[in-house]
Symmetry: C2
Subunit: 146 residues, 2 copies
DNA sequence: TTCAAAAAAGATATTCATGTCTTTTTTAGT
DNA sequence: ACTAAAAAAGACATGAATATCTTTTTTGAA
């Protein structure tokens, strides 16, 4: 409920790169999957999607890996949700009723509208950079072990 | 996201019974599945669960069907969520981190806490009876066609 | 130019929610 | 007792999210 595992992997992945890449070398998927305790190839697919969306950059070959793009830190969480979960959930009735809308509401329409709008607002205003706390020595732990 | 289809079926099912059963006969699964445009046997399983939880009553055999229990209208939506989706989602970290809690928060901990608590509060206070609007001649429509 | 390292891509497997079909149990009326 | 109607139960099918395994492409360095 709320969000998929893929979203969690995406966020932890990009935060990992944002935290460690500035220290030097590019980040390898092997290392990430290890440290984040996440399925390697599944993570790789999600990372690839983020690269396609310019949320990250990547280079192949020796000394390659993932690194920040010019917009990584400004990327809103909602962009990650779009990639991993899609936006449909925010527009579709919780009772799956196609005709449901504010003129013709299902019994839960306005309650769900409020909850979803709250989430939308939060995820629209929060960026990757907002979540990144380099000053906190425990930050890496807070995204690591499942 | 947010809630499963099963939850939607459960809510529409119980509202359907609450709306039509007082008018006379018990409600047959066949009729419900038809009017709600929902998979018959899948709905049957969910109705059975609600009966097991005393949210509804049922009688087998000729002239049987589903009817209200003494507590149907007082049942909170959260009870339906428990049955269909489970409560785990409200207690588990959005990033699937087992160690995440308010002392040791993941980067999204407090944002998600707020959103989930909002939803919990709403679903804890709202009952089936609260959603049932018998005065509204279009109520049946608002839970009918998918 | 060849080699090895790395991401990208593709193929297959597993799990879980959802959906369908069949059989069993219960029960009211004859 | 018998029959038919209805829910309950069980077996099987499908689809989507998640996970694993293999092959291809790219590229830096010797």
């Amino acid at each position: 409920m709320f969000l998929s595992k893929s979203f969690g992997y995406a966020l932890r992945g990009v935060l990992y790169v944002a935290l460690l890449e500035p220290k030097g070398n590019k980040i390898k998927i092997e290392q990430m999957a290890d440290k984040l305790a996440v399925p390697r190839h599944f993570l790789a697919k999600i990372m690839k999607k983020m690269v396609q969306e310019d949320i990250l950059t990547s280079t192949k070959g020796p000394y390659g890996g993932f690194s920040l793009s010019p917009v990584t830190l400004q990327t809103k969480l909602l962009h990650l949700v779009k990639i991993t979960d899609g936006m449909e959930q925010f527009n579709t009735c919780v009772l799956s009723l196609r005709k449901c809308n504010s003129k013709n509401p299902c019994p839960l329409h306005f309650q769900m509208l409020q909850i979803r709008d709250g989430m939308l607002a939060e995820f629209s205003k929060t960026s990757i950079g907002d979540l990144l706390d380099k000053k906190n020595p425990d930050f890496i732990k807070s995204i690591s072990v499942i």
